[in-house]
């Protein structure tokens, strides 16, 4: 069977690629488009390391097929910083030591950004449940949750 020809937008740029039917969006991002910032921890949607925003919605890219994203817009960790300016979440994660090994960090950042785009006033409870789809084995989540809360507070102040 021949490959599918897909045109989409990734981090604002037009992309086109060929993919097999069974290729996930994560396979396409990592192997075809060389965007390896999204990580594969489980390929079953349980760890969230591959989190991306698809048409404004937070998804696990391992649970989306590459041929599903035709005509749609994908935002990955690689598109989070604008030029040399880190997103406030990226900056705060660094300052707050909200990462240790860093493998889950792209997924947490993408997911946290999706949360703060919905609300800049989340409770700790909301942050913890929003991020419950992202596994981190190093930090115990304390500094991640704190960093997200602190970023939200700073964004509220403007």
């Amino acid at each position: 069977m021949s490959k599918h020809h897909i045109e989409a937008k990734v981090n604002g740029d037009p992309v086109e690629f060929l993919c097999e039917t069974e290729d996930t969006l994560l396979d396409v991002l990592r192997d075809t488009l060389s965007l390896t910032g999204s990580k594969e921890g489980c390929s079953s949607g349980d760890c969230g390391a591959c989190s991306v925003i698809l048409d404004g919605r937070l998804v696990c890219s391992c649970l989306v097929l590459g041929c599903e994203v035709g005509g749609r817009s994908v935002e990955t960790i690689e598109g989070m910083a604008k030029g040399e300016t880190l997103h406030p979440l990226q900056k705060r994660f660094l300052e707050a030591a909200a990462l240790q090994c860093g493998i889950c960090t792209p997924g947490f950042l993408v997911a946290s950004r999706a949360l703060l785009e919905k609300t800049t006033n989340p409770t700790e409870h909301e942050v913890r449940y929003w991020l419950a789809g992202n596994l981190c084995r190093c930090t115990g989540y304390d500094k991640i949750v704190t960093a997200v809360m602190d970023t939200a507070a700073a964004m509220r102040k403007g």
Partner: protein
Amino acid sequence: MAETNGHSQANGQHVVGTRTVRPDGVDKVTGRARFGADFNLPGQLIGRVLRSPHPHARIVSIDTSKAEALPGVKAVITRADFADQPSEFIPAGEMMMNYKDVVRNVLAREKVLYEGHAVAAVAATSTAIARRALKLIEVKYETLPHVIDVVEAMRPDAPLLHDDLFTVGVEPKPERPSNIAKRVEIKQGDVEAGFKTADIIVEREFKTAPVHQGYIEPHAALATFSEDGSTELWTTTQGHYIVRAHCARLLGLDIGKVRVTATEIGGGFGGKTVVYLEPLAIALSRKAKRPVKMVMSREEVFKASGPTSGATVRVKLGATKSGKFVAAFAELKYQAGAFQGSPVQPGTMCAYAPYDIEHVHVIGYDVVSNRPKVAAYRAPGAPISEYAVESVVDEIAKKLDIDPIDLRMQNAAHEGTKAAYGPKFGPIGLEETLNAIRKTEHWNAPLRKWQGRGVASGFWFNIGGETCVSLTVNEDGTVSLMAGTPDIGGLRASLAAVAADELGVPYDKVRPIIGDTGSLGFNFLTGGSRSAFSGSMAIVEAAKQIKADLCARAGKLWEAKPDQVEFSEGHVRPLGALAEKVKPMSVADFAKVAGKTGGPIGGVGRINAQGAGPSFGTHLVDLEVDPETGRTTILRYTVAQDAGRALHPAYVEGQYQGGAVQGIGWALNEEYVYGADGKLQNAGFLDYRMPVASDVPMIDAILVEVANPKHPYGVRGVGETPIVPPLGAIANAMEAATGIRFTELPMSPPKVLKALKDKGLSKV
């Protein structure tokens, strides 16, 4: 030259002890950092592993001809591609390993010993072709009875995994082989006599389930083998020098021809101290003459890597009415998995290490069964035995009506205590952690019905070992720092801070990297809580060379005698009358004139770090049990642990917090679930339920600092101790909440609900 005294910046301030932004941080928040699976080479093939569907079977034959004939398949390897290895034990982290077993674990030889045991591997031009090729490999098995449980495996009539395994450490030597690889013991005083002086004796048996390290990044390796025998390997590992040694040994290569680069590593916790894919990737590349990339699936990670032991532990502890521990006994039976080498030895040594007890006797058994071979997991062996002991300590406190912190304080090991496992402790911080917990507001906060509070202490040895780092002063005065122990949780930040203070250069002018095996001398792995401890010691050594060299250069430039110059606060300074004639020179000043004053400036610290200081911790937890579901919610958690000196406080706190949450998972939910068929039923993150953000509260971290006198900055290792106390602390809190002493981990909802029902406490 005066003795160098440069532990600070030019302004007298210190970087060490501050919360700097990690030098490798930006790449990790932008997705640029390259982890194991992020490396690719032109022309690379994809390697996949064929794994055993049986828990125990003899391999009658392996026919790879159909797979080899499939277009796109470039190499197939089996046991025939690896020479057998003689039995020889070598240290691996805090555990021992044997190449005879390693070669069999990497690819099964006579038998498969667990579901998921690697049998063959292929390299093909695509993942799809590699998968198809695996299906074409015909393996004839003669299935054998299997044994999963550790106690069942010890029975004389249990299915035998290795017919050449005779228990070591028993007299007389057994006549028949068994699944008991080893009996170990530690003894101090006379426990029988000790128990006679006890007013109260508590004896209980505990059971713990095997748990996986649970790193989010699966194992991954990329290898390329050249016709001249030189090999390059990129792999996610805690020790690339160790990987090099293992691969060279298993494949008959010269160590000097194997260059291993440790990629960024997505968590290890001990599980990435051994080889799985690496020798297969090299062997496939050697056969295919092309680079080969291999990445494990999560299912493979669960079935064929890690975990740590499940165990059965019997504890007997005697105390006087006033609470003095007088005699302690324990018997530990640890699962090793398919090959010998559980962490039962450290388990025996740690069991009673937090306490000053005259009479101690601990016996341990290392037992094989049809499970994946265990790997190290954060303080290997200690959480299991210390959980059992801390549970019994709590019970004694209740029975004697003594406050559990007072009881621990009364018996706590301190400077001068002779540990039952051998040494006399130097300055240690157990009492300080108990005091720190007692002083928290948490300790006295009110609790409601179905809520309980528990406390437990924990100990881990920590190690030093072979370490090599380099410091290079560049032409512009910036400093390149190279270390050879993979950085998993902020090592580069800690080492850069030490280098900055030693040389008096700004923190952001020090650039630390992890060098490959061709760039530095041998480094033992990142494990044993050694990397910041040993690495900072080696940095001090390298900086000392640089400072001595700069003083010598200044002596020549200034025509001064050695006692007329000294290095302090980032400068070589003229002393006495000379100070009127010449100005101090900074490291950057020397960098500009390096060529004219003797050439490149740098130092190499090559040490075998000694004097690792044990770290003690005490944890405090509040939890609530739901009597309708048996679910336990952790409400509040405080960790106090002795860091010696926290080089980077935020990353030390991170170790405490992360270890505590791993311990929460171990205590409440995580376990390997096997069916009667000997197959793992929960090989995925959905069913192997690790804690997520909504499962846990904030983890308050208290840094206790009782300096380790054997380290130039007072550092102790901190990474492992945090996972030791949670199991006991949570079990003790469960008892406080329900009145039930749970003696089996995990205390998962079905188990808790059943216990509540049995006691008539749940109406469901």
